[in-house]
Symmetry: C2
Subunit: 201 residues, 2 copies
DNA sequence: AAATGTACAAAAAGTGATTATTGTTCATTA
DNA sequence: TAATGAACAATAATCACTTTTTGTACATTT
């Protein structure tokens, strides 16, 4: 379940969907700065006032667009992971999917037009928190399977996984070249070394 | 040994030092954008032309200032770590030192005046690479001491450590509150055991 | 009820002339 | 030999001004 800190958006509401669609299209074409509420209204074929019924301000609209994108990504990834059982494999897929999303979605557009905005987004703790909500169930499953030590705190493992995954999405290679699926998988395998954690000190 | 990709700066050269000092002072007070070469010259009590003898452009000067800061940090940290033998303890101290540097140095000033610039810096791979050069010797020592599995590639361990450390400096708490030395140490202890143990698989 | 369209003040963004800064050059100074 | 200071075109920042956009309100439409 996603964050509820901000207004809970109903993506199924056709009005909400239309606004978000139009907004995303605008951002994709012009970037955030050069997108006006009037333009969003024009593209979405609705009145400017209606947008304000659903989004208190432009900032909230942008937040909504990004959030929907992220949640859509998480849902797609969730489906993608169903075929996998091991946490390492899931993580590998998730990182690869994350990179792909960065390279072609709205993020890629932002990276070209407003790199500073994108950079700020990545340093926003909320960006992490949204990713965090994804993992606990998988961690628990991995614990039941004995892949992750039962003694470990789910919150700790989740935190650890998210730090690693986000880092790997944003920097495919620091010292080790982790652009290929194979090298990434090997890296994560080693980094997790699940099944241990029990032993040693 | 720091990067050599850019011009090798001799920090002992009194002229270089004066320029960097003046530049850093200016950035600290006005931020990067509002710092002019003329102002740097005035503060450093030297001619504008002299700055260009040592730095090809304003960008290079800024690069030099940041680099010196980072290297000074690494040197201080290196000294700090001499008392420690275990890698976990070293990492803990390094992360704490890094956070402190962020909160009070030139970075704190930038965070207030030009957060986007700071965000861009953090996403610059060079920022990571400079940190990377620090760890290999410590990793080797840890391997000799049996703390890190001898079979592991030093490059892998370094990459892993840097990702984790940078993440922990930039985000003191994602899911787990790691602001205190105690909790940070426990976290790293577990994270290293997870990633760098002999056992498992 | 919910979406629209118009109107409105306040805030933000664009505009174009003016000023400051950049990066180079070179003769002068120490 | 190295730093200086002045001159310079090209670029970038600044300022006062105009236009656009924002967010709100409310009467009107569907």
């Amino acid at each position: 379940m996603p964050d509820k800190q901000f207004s809970a958006l109903n993506y199924d509401d056709p009005m909400v969907a239309r606004i978000l669609d139009a907004g995303e299209q605008c951002i994709h074409r012009f970037g955030i700065r050069r997108t006006s509420m009037g333009e969003v209204a024009r593209v979405g074929k609705l009145s400017r006032g209606s947008i304000y019924r659903y989004f208190s301000a432009k900032e909230a609209l942008v937040e909504g667009i990004i959030r929907r994108r992220q949640e859509a990504f998480l849902n797609r990834t969730e489906a993608l992971l169903e075929k996998e059982t091991r946490l390492v494999d899931k993580l590998t897929l998730a990182v690869l999917a994350g990179r792909k999303d960065m390279q072609e979605g709205i993020f890629a557009a932002l990276a070209e037009v407003e790199p500073e905005t994108l950079a700020m987004m990545f340093l926003d703790p909320r960006f992490y928190h949204r990713s965090v909500s994804f993992w606990p169930p998988h961690v628990r499953l991995a614990q039941e399977a004995g892949e992750v030590a039962a003694a470990l705190d789910v919150v700790f493992v989740t935190d650890f996984i998210v730090r690693l995954a986000v880092s790997l999405v944003m920097f495919p290679t620091i010292e080790v070249d982790l652009r290929s699926r194979k090298s990434l998988h090997a890296y994560l395998q080693q980094a997790l070394r699940m099944g241990l954690g029990e032993n040693g000190l």
